[in-house]
Amino acid sequence: MPLSEQDLQDLKEKAWQIRRDIIDTTVWAGGAHIGGALSMVEIMTILYFKYLNIDPNRPDWEDRDRVVLSKGHGGVGYAPVLANRGYFEKNELKEFNHFKSPFGMHLDGNKVKGVDVSTGSLGHGLSIAVGLALGARVQQKTWKTYCILGDGECNEGSVWEAAMAAAHFKVTNLTTFVDRNKLMIDGPTEKVMALEPFADKWKAFGWIVRECDGHSFEELSAAIDYAQAEKNAPVVIIAHTVKGKGVDFMENEVKWHYGSIDSVLADRARKSVDAMYGK
């Protein structure tokens, strides 16, 4: 699905809006996993506004594509995408994290429209995504499954159990991303628990690896098209990203894995995001 100039413009406009909404939601929530939410904005935007075959008016439509946000702490980045896509009103996000809100930091699929799978405990999502993909195969359905992993999450052994199974069962109706923002709570991934040579690990598990700039819609689009054309082995897209992308004082800063922002910081963050888009 090559992107037209118009597509690019539209996607960038959406990404700007979503980054603004992530900042607002973080303020309303009193704190959120904002760093990793900002690093995955382009991945989530291109999926929800270009690739996914979904209908926000029928969130349970059985032939819809499925998404598993395995890095479930990205909830504050996911909910604004769903609001912008029309699953619910944006002002519902004002209740994020509050008493009895449907929106907690890790989104609950039984409470939030558009969320296919409840995630939050790391290392679970890829197995569930493999199950969904196999479920489509067993039922001879053509809908696709998408899974977004965090890079730090790939310390979990269960990720590699799932990776082994996806290759063994030749699961090719699944498109997997790793949001490779290179930071985890306690520091750089390579310092806390080294992942490199990361691509080689996936290859050794029988996957085809495609690396790209995770903030470039053109590169993401090419990578997704490549992954979906491959029919012999599962493909992982290692999307190189910047944690906190778009907010200058958060970019590549370990401390912004989770944080709260007051109105002064929020204004600074909005100005930074606006500047990124020349607004």
Binding site: V68, S118, S127, I128, A129, A133, L134, G135, V138
Partner: protein, 338 residues
């Protein structure tokens, strides 16, 4: 549930096949009726007998290798896609190795995954503590949305497996290694999830049992009637959750003495579930829990272990005599107690 007919196993089979073999055959039959059933195992397709289903429906069966956490995650995904996964591995690896996947991926999302956990309790006694599982009832009954069933034998396993297909949400069916002797003669005794079966009537004391202890308690009841003139009620509490509160309260009221017997740690299992009901009722009753006394069980063949832990006929008789011999305030005026 839909009527299941044309089953390929018979009562004769039930006497010659193990609990797990009957389960495997019943699942094959159900697989024909329900195209949405899929099967999973983790390199224990043969031991758990789910391999029979795999042989019959290879495209609907996934052996994920020795990777239980991944297996329960995949099962969650398959259920999310609209299928009904039946998952079989040993109880220890289901409820401890994969406890979080079962709780978070399956129970939290209220998914239609049916778990048949084998080698539970000390049924694989000679294998030692790594392969015993005397914690699983406590673990699974603390998972919201989970139904917990402990069948008495192969026939009840067949009934439970059939009943759970149309029973919404996650179900945990706990069976042994497969060498447990049959208790029921046929499947028509009114099995219903959540409803205890009175297998012996009685008015002096009630023995509440699950799994292998049902048969042993029924034998003990006959002997106690003959030798001690005791009228012993035996309840097969096959469903631990939701538990049959009515049957327990009726036993409190009518027999005033209750002992629970289970191949499980005395903490958190059947006995605790029964104790919860009694305590909440505000009614008094002599009560004792018999099981594995908060230790890791010894190594040995199951029959030796059941004897050691007072879960066989002789042990049950001994426990009943102890409780019957205890000073216990008889209070005919039930109504004045709150």
């Amino acid at each position: 549930m839909a009527e299941v007919t044309g089953t390929t196993w018979t009562v004769y089979d039930a006497n010659t096949l193990t609990q797990a073999e009957i389960y495997g055959q019943v699942l094959c039959d159900l697989g024909t009726i329900y195209p949405k059933i899929v099967g999973l195992s983790a390199d224990l397709a043969k031991s758990t007998k789910i391999g029979l289903f795999g042989d019959k429906f290879p495209e609907r069966f996934f052996n994920v290798g020795i990777a239980e956490q991944n297996m329960f995650g995949i099962a969650a995904g398959l259920a999310k896609s609209g299928l009904i996964p039946f998952v079989s591995t040993m109880a220890a690896f289901t409820t401890m190795r994969s406890a979080e996947q079962v709780r978070t991926d399956i129970c939290y999302q209220k998914l239609n995954v049916k778990i048949i956990a084998t080698h539970a309790g000390t049924s694989f006694g000679a294998a030692g503590t790594t392969h015993h599982c005397t914690e699983d009832i406590a673990i699974t009954r603390s998972f919201a949305n989970m139904t917990v069933i402990v069948p008495a034998d192969g026939i009840e396993t067949a009934n439970a497996v059939k009943a759970c297909v149309d029973y919404p949400g996650p179900v945990y069916i706990r069976i042994g290694r497969g060498f447990e002797p049959p208790f029921y003669k046929d499947e028509n005794y009114g099995f219903k999830i959540g409803k205890a079966c009175e297998v012996c009537p009685g008015t002096d004391i009630t023995l509440i049992c699950c799994g292998i202890t049902v048969l042993q308690a029924a034998e003990a009841a006959k002997i106690l009637q003959r030798e001690d003139g005791l009228s012993v009620r035996v309840l097969n509490m096959h469903t631990i959750k939701p538990i049959d509160e009515g049957a327990i309260l009726k036993a409190v009221k009518e027999t005033r003495r209750i002992i629970t017997f289970e191949d499980h740690n005395i903490h958190g299992g059947l006995g605790s579930a029964v104790a919860d009901v009694i305590a909440a009722s505000g009614k008094g009753c002599a009560f004792e829990k018999v099981g594995i006394p908060d230790c890791y069980a010894e190594v040995g063949y199951p029959e030796d272990l059941y004897s050691h832990y007072k879960l066989d006929t002789n042990g049950i008789i001994e426990k009943v005599r102890q409780v019957m011999g205890k000073e216990f305030e008889e209070d005919e005026s039930w109504e004045d107690e709150v």
